[in-house]
Amino acid sequence: MNKLWIDERYCKGCLICIDVCPTKALAASQEINSKGYILPVEKDMKRCKSCGLCEVMCPDFAIAIEEVEG
């Protein structure tokens, strides 16, 4: 199951990654962080095919998907 890494210093909560994910593996967090942004969180990472579209379309270089086997 792949793992989602969000750099909390860089993410501004535009949530483009959730919209562009073709398998809908991400969701918006229920909590607002200390900067006032809503960050993306893992919803169902079993569906993640590590296509990298979220990494390509992130405007703030904040997201990364780590490929984990098994």
């Binding site: 501004k12 535009c14 483009i16």
Partner: protein
């Protein structure tokens, strides 16, 4: 912790402290275009074995002007308003091996730097121009620009815009640029391929990228990206209904003699005559 793969090309720490996060508003298209450009540059470094020192990034003034020198860990220059192409011409004369990427906005290219732009296209200098077109002057407060679509609402056109928008792609094509393409920020792979094609091409390449401004258009970036997907149509599919749609795609892809190469011919000619005199 795994980090974004393109952070290796950015300056995260500066002499006055951390430089990231980027200065742009949440969901701005400028950050996305920077991301696409770095992906294209990464592929060129890997596939064509272009050296990292051979890239040069130049920008003018505006939101797009903030992309280069502050963040990129490449040679870069932040120049005066509209004159990024003039600086690029000089840099190319000094070192013809440079692969130059010019980041400009629609105000930078379409209004104040309009003449520099058309004459760069006419001369066919070897630069890749990335024009981030968000249809308004974002940095100064969302005033209407020459590229604002007909009927759009901005801070200076509160009762909708009554002027026709400037088509920068047609202008570049007529002025003589050999590679002209238009995409939006919602078409990442196409933009990356176009930037690679533009950098490989000897000559001017204009890639206009329709970009979103969530602050001044007063919509979420996700809605604006969805709008780009529905309101554009590929130029090869133009047989369908095109009312109210913007054409995207590659408009021309020609092979022409580049400016520096044609001057090199004159230089070579004189070098040959000098050799004959010496003999």
């Amino acid at each position: 912790m795994k980090r974004h793969p393109m952070l290796k090309y950015l300056k995260e720490e500066g002499p006055l402290g951390p430089r990231l996060p980027l200065i742009f508003c949440p969901g701005c298209g400028s950050g996305q275009v920077l991301n696409y450009t770095l992906h294209a540059v990464d592929k060129l470094i890997e596939e064509d074995e272009v050296r990292r020192e051979n890239f040069l990034f130049i920008s003018g003034i505006g939101c797009s002007g903030r992309i280069t020198s502050h963040y990129l860990n490449f040679d870069s220059a932040w120049t005066i308003h509209g004159r990024a192409l003039a600086v690029a011409t000089g840099a190319l004369l000094a070192n013809p091996a440079f692969k130059i990427v010019v980041f400009t906005g629609d105000g930078d290219t379409g209004s104040i730097g309009g003449n520099h732009f058309i004459h760069a296209c006419r001369r066919n200098i070897d630069v890749t121009i990335l024009c981030l077109n968000n249809g308004l002057y974002g940095m100064t407060g969302g005033q209407h620009a020459p590229t604002t679509p007909l009927g759009a609402i901005t801070t200076t056109t509160p009762y909708s815009n009554r002027e026709e928008a400037f088509d920068l792609c047609k202008l570049a094509e007529i002025a003589g640029a050999p590679y002209v393409a238009r995409w939006t920020t919602a078409h990442p792979q196409q933009v990356i391929k176009s930037i690679m094609k533009g950098l490989r091409k000897k000559g001017t390449a204009l890639i206009e990228i329709l970009s979103q401004c969530p602050v001044h258009e007063k919509m979420s970036p996700v809605t604006l990206l969805k709008g780009f997907r529905t309101k554009t149509i590929h130029v090869n599919k133009a047989k369908e209904s095109t009312v109210g749609k913007t054409f995207i795609g590659e408009f021309c892809d020609l092979d022409k003699r580049e400016w520096n190469e044609s001057y090199q011919e004159i230089i070579d000619q004189f070098l040959r005559t000098n050799d004959k005199i010496d003999e």
